[in-house]
Every structure is written in C-alpha cells, then in structure tokens.
C-alpha cells in the first residue's frame, strides 16, 4: 500500500514533467498567450493605467510580438518583474521574452546566456540637479550626494565616472523612481542620476520643471532592448524581426492607418513593403508565422514612430525628442536590416 503511494507521487511528478519543453514559439502558440516580462512601473515605458491596462513603449513591443505570433495584441500576460527577478524569470521559462528597459551588455549576453534581439531605445545615463546649486557640469559634483535607482547598470556607470574623474560622491540607493523623486525634491540628495529618458520623464512631472537642469554629460551608452533566452534561435528571430518590422514600417511609411489598405494586395512599386506585409514572397512562413504577421503587428500597435509618439514622444508628459532614436535617414541610429 505504501509502495503505491510512492508510485502515485512519482506519477504525479512525472505528469507535470511530461509536457516536454518544446520550442518557445510552439509553446506560445499552444498556450494562446505570450508571457512578457515588463518593469513594475516606469511611466512611458511600462506601467498600468488607472484601469489596470498596461501601457508604454516596452509594452507595445510585447503586444506587437503577440499580434505577430497569435494575431491578437491582447493575448499577452504581462509579468511584472523587478531588477532582481527579471533574469531568473526569463532563464527559468516563466516568461517568453523580457521587454524591461534592460541594457545590452556583454556579460548579460555571454555570461547570463541571453540574446538581445535588438535595440528599441538608445539611452544614456545623465544627471539632474536643482538649478539653485549652480552646477553646469557633472565634473563639479565633488562631494555631492547622488540618488541612484538600484538594480541597474547606472550604479556601475556612476562609480566608473566618478573614479575616472577622481572625485567623490555619496550614493543613496533607492528602489523606485517615485521614491528617488521624493528624496531628490526633499533635498536628501543633490543629484538624481538615471537614464536620460527617465530623467526627462521625472522632471516633466515636477511642479516646477524649470527649477531643475539636466547636465550635459551623458556618461554611458544604454542600448535598451528586448531579450530572450539563448539557444532558441527561432524564437529569437521572431522577436527580432517583429521589432525590425516596426522600425522598417516607419522608414517605409507604413502606419497603423494605412497598413490595412497596403496589405490588401501587392503593389508592384513597393516590393519591400509587399514582402514585409506578406503580399509577396514567403517571409512569414520562414519565421514559422502567418504571412500577415507584420501587418498584424503594425496594425495593432502602429509603427515605431507611432509607438514612440504615443508613449514617450514630445506630446506626452514624458516629452522625449527622437534624437538618437530617429531613423538613420534623419540622423538617428535606427537602421533595420532589409526584408528580403
């Protein structure tokens, strides 16, 4: 009798292990939803609104992938991850992809075994100080108290910058942007440092934004992008080319407004659009998706420019200019490989 209990327990364990680890793409299709890791709340990039719907720049990437793979931008389970849990969540298979303003670095790529599929936002670390301190350069910050958001590369960059310039500072680690903002405004730290995009967004929310200045130094390169696990290249390709489709769409003038009409039939004058939207060739089939995958993605969230304008562009409270994140034709760094 006792033997059978042991066997029963083993069968139960075996059953749960039985669903063999197939490829991520097949898993997502079988499940009917995409598990996407996002930040727990960074306005403009990913944050739930008053109705509990996730909104933001990173969120749009998740929705685009869901639309491309499953045809439904709402078939996404957003998993809120902290700086601590994000990598484990991805490595352990809890999430299929991570779109959480994560900086692409060598050690994350090589040592932690993740594949960064591209860059959706080129950022850099900057400083914000109150105007009344009369500081015009970060090199004048000797002895200052600096608020840093922990769990990011910002701490390392900051340490490097101050050491290289041979000046001292006092770090004040803070957990969330909201708390950093509170401490900074109360004068518990002189300087607030984080990604320049975050600084702009934070300053925009102040009562008197003009009383604070962003210092000219950008002390690091922060290419932020979505990432997937090593070793599943098919899935990596799907996420990579969904991102590329969003970028190319802007370059080629495809937007959520005209994508439906453009993908009705092939237009001989625009072969690349035809290939991307699946009216010509079989690019979707190569990826293991439907022919209209890119059309679905663009139709759901718009092209890169639309996503940018809607979530973090100059019209929004975050109010970021395109800058480095413009198309290469406009002097930016966005340069999607051809759809061929």
């Amino acid at each position: 009798m006792k033997k059978s209990v042991v066997i029963g327990a083993l069968t139960a364990a075996g059953l749960s292990a039985g669903a063999a680890a197939a490829s991520t793409l097949e898993d997502v299709k079988a499940r009917g939803s995409l598990n996407c890791g996002v930040s727990t709340g960074l306005v403009g990039f990913s944050s739930p609104d008053a109705n509990g719907t996730w909104q933001g720049f990173d969120v749009a990437v998740c929705r685009a992938v869901a639309a491309a793979v499953l045809g439904d931008p709402n078939a996404v389970e957003f998993v809120a991850t902290t700086g601590k849990t994000r990598f484990t969540a991805l490595a352990s298979g809890e999430i299929d992809m991570l779109a959480r303003n994560t900086t692409w670095t060598l050690s994350r790529d090589v040592d932690l075994k993740f594949t960064f599929v591209g860059v959706n936002y080129y950022d850099g670390q900057g400083f914000m100080v109150p105007k009344e301190l009369n500081v015009s350069s970060a090199k004048e910050l000797d002895g200052a108290t600096v608020c840093i958001q922990t769990g990011t590369t910002t701490e390392l960059n900051l340490a490097d910058f101050f050491r290289a310039n041979n000046i001292n500072y006092e770090p004040v680690p803070v957990e969330t942007n909201a708390e950093a903002q509170q401490q900074y405004l109360a004068g518990a730290c002189d300087v607030y440092t984080t990604d320049a995009s975050g600084l702009a967004a934070t300053r925009a929310a102040f009562e008197a934004p003009d009383a604070h200045v962003l210092l000219p130094e950008i002390i690091s390169k922060e290419p932020l992008g979505p990432l997937v696990r090593h070793g599943d290249d098919e899935w990596g390709d799907v996420v990579r080319w969904t991102l590329n489709a969003l970028i190319s769409a802007e370059e080629l003038g495809v937007s959520s407004a005209n994508v439906a009409s453009l993908s009705e039939s092939a237009n001989p004058e625009t072969p690349e659009i035809n290939r991307m939207l699946g009216t010509e060739g079989n690019l979707g089939e190569m990826l293991g998706l439907n022919a209209d995958w890119a059309a679905k993605a663009i139709g759901a969230v718009g092209n890169y420019g639309e996503i940018f304008a809607k979530n973090i562009g100059e019209e929004t409270p975050v109010g970021l200019a395109r800058g480095l994140n413009g198309q290469w034709e406009d002097g930016g760094l966005l340069y999607a490989p051809p759809f061929r």
Binding site: K84, K113, A144, T145, E155, E175
Partner: protein, 404 residues
Amino acid sequence: MTTLSDPPQGSFRLSMLIYDTRYRSLTFQAIAAILLALAIWYLGSNLIQNLRVQGLDIAYDFLVDPAGYDINQTLIEYDSQSAHWRAAIVGILNTLLVAFLACVTATVFGVFAGVLRLSNNWLVRKLMSFYVEIFRNIPVLIWILIIFFIMIAVMPAPRAFRGDEPDATMLLGLFAFTNRGVYIPAPVWGPGSLVVVATFVASIIGIFAYRRYATKLLYDTGRLLPTGWPSLVILIVPTLLVFFIMGRPIGLDVPELGGFNFRGGIQVGAPLIALWFALSIYTGAFIAENVRAGIQAVSRGQTEAAAALGLRPGRVMKLVVLPQALRVIIPPLISQYLNITKNSSLAIAVGYADITATLGGITLNQTGRAIECVLLLMLFYLTISLTISAVMNVYNNSVKLKER
C-alpha cells in the same frame, strides 16, 4: 519459567515490520529516508538539468571580481574596485551594526513602556497601551517606510543650513540633523590618547571592584557604603585628570558645511537612523508586553512578603521582583533580538546597505548569480541566529531555577 521473558527466536516475518513495535520505527524511518532521498533527488536532478539547459553553472568565483558599485555607509575600507566578497562583508557589518543598535534601544523602549503600562497613572497607562497596540498591529515594513518618509520630509536638507539667515542651525554647533542623516563630531586621536582611554577603562574596572567591595563589606560587617556618587567620581575624575595632564590629546572633528554636504565628523545616514528607529520602536512594543507579563508573573505574595520584611519599594523591585521577572522576560527577549536581526533585512526598502542589499541586492543584480547569492545570504542569517540562540541559551541556563 525462564522461557517467559524470552521472545520467540528466529521467527522473523515481514509483517513484523508493520505490526511489531520493535521494528515498526525502523520501517517508518526507512520510508522517511527513502522519501527524503527521492525528494532531494527529484529537486537536484531538476536543478542540474535546468542549469544544463541554460548553460549555467554554480560557481562562487564571481565573489573575487571587483564589485564596481559604491556603498555610502561602510565600517571598513571599501571602494568600487573592492571585490564582491568585501561588499558582502560591509553588508554583514552593517547588518550587525543596525541589529545591535536596535536591540539596545528596543530594550530601553520596551522596559520603559512595559513598566509604564503598569503605572498607576491612568493617562500614561492608556497612552502606553495605545503605543503597544498600534505598533504591534501594523506591519514593520509599513513602519519603516513611514518613519523614513517622515525623516525625509520633516528634517531640513543640508542646503537649509546655508546662507546668512539659514532655516536650520546646528545643535550646540556640534550636531547637524539633516534629512541625509545626523552629523556628529568625530574624536581625533592625538598622541597620548591611548593613556586616556586606558585610564577610562581602568576606572570602569575600578567601579566594579568598589561595588564588589561594598557588597562584601555589607555582608561581612553589615556596614552600608554609598555606591552612587563614588561610582560617578571614579568614572569621571581620573580620566579628566589624565586628559588634562596629557595635554588634551583627544580633539573633536566638528562637521562643517562645505560644498554640497557637511564634511568631517561622523555621518549616521538617514536610512540607518530610520531603520534603527523603526525596528526599535516596533520591537519595543513587543518587548513591553514581555516585560509587563514578566512583572505580572511574579506573584503578589512575593512583593507583600518583601514589604513585610521592611524593604523599601525600590529594593523590593531590585532584590525581589526583577530577579524573578527576568527569568520570565529573558527567553521571549531573545527571540525578539533574533527578530530584530531578521527584520533588519527590510533595510532594502530604505536603501540601507545591509547584507540583503549588497550581496542579496546589488551583487545579485549585477552578476545574475541568484542561487549562489541567496544561499550565502541564508547561510549568514542562519549562522547569526544559531549563534545568538546558543549564547542566550547558556545565559538562560545560568539564571534557570535551580530546583533541588
């Protein structure tokens, strides 16, 4: 008759493993061992397989790599080029520091509130039960956050000290209370300061010797020597004398506003103060209850008997009630101390660099070595807890009722 006590020999049957109490425990233990082994094997093989699939391994060599981040409150030499293990040591020392400070003040708060809860002053009694109830019934994490936010919002920023008519001034010109922390003067040890310190230590030993002598004299001859003011004299006079004879070798490094911050002196950071205060006031409420229960556990007859012997109220407390109450108070007090140590891990909420924030926080984030970091973290807390329990158990045994 001799066969009566002999068990039947050589007839071992399998069913005896279940029905014979002599063997049954063996059966159970064997089953437990098998289950344990199976569980370990199941979890272990999953771990190994998962790590292999990810191409990861469990290795601790990241500990010797440079940490790359800075820590604001360190008790030992540390900079961003120090190794991760050194950051962990900084964290350990910070944990021990805040735990020690909080244990001391929590005991003070607790004894104070516990005794006042038994006061015959109605208002004070009610106020103290209000304090105890309100702090015991709200999570410590919320208290830490509230107290930290109060500090940030209420205390002046260093820039408030600036200018000709500053909004804030330093206390006695020595202490500065800001929302970045409290700046206090630091002693500067000149040549010959060792002699002063040695004298001070010697005077403390002297006080104990004097009190011992006074007790002995009391028991031997019945003569009562005063202990209060002579102790004070022994404590202060020789040290002061030596201090001036040696030419005032110990100076003070007073904090001064320079640049962005106060410079010089010792900075006790705001996160440390908030955590320290929150932990002590929260745990103090629990200790107050223990103290009250301990004092109430001493039966009234003891107090009455002591009074009947003609002891004054102070002596009744000191010689009769407290020694007996302590026996009841100490064991829960130990677990409160352990709780403080464990709750200090909530430092992460206010950015105090304890072990959870360095090894279990930034190091974990930067290296991504989650399993290794969490294992080391648990090992540390386990060591601390077991050590405190062991030390306290020894003490506990020494005050235990020696029954004959």
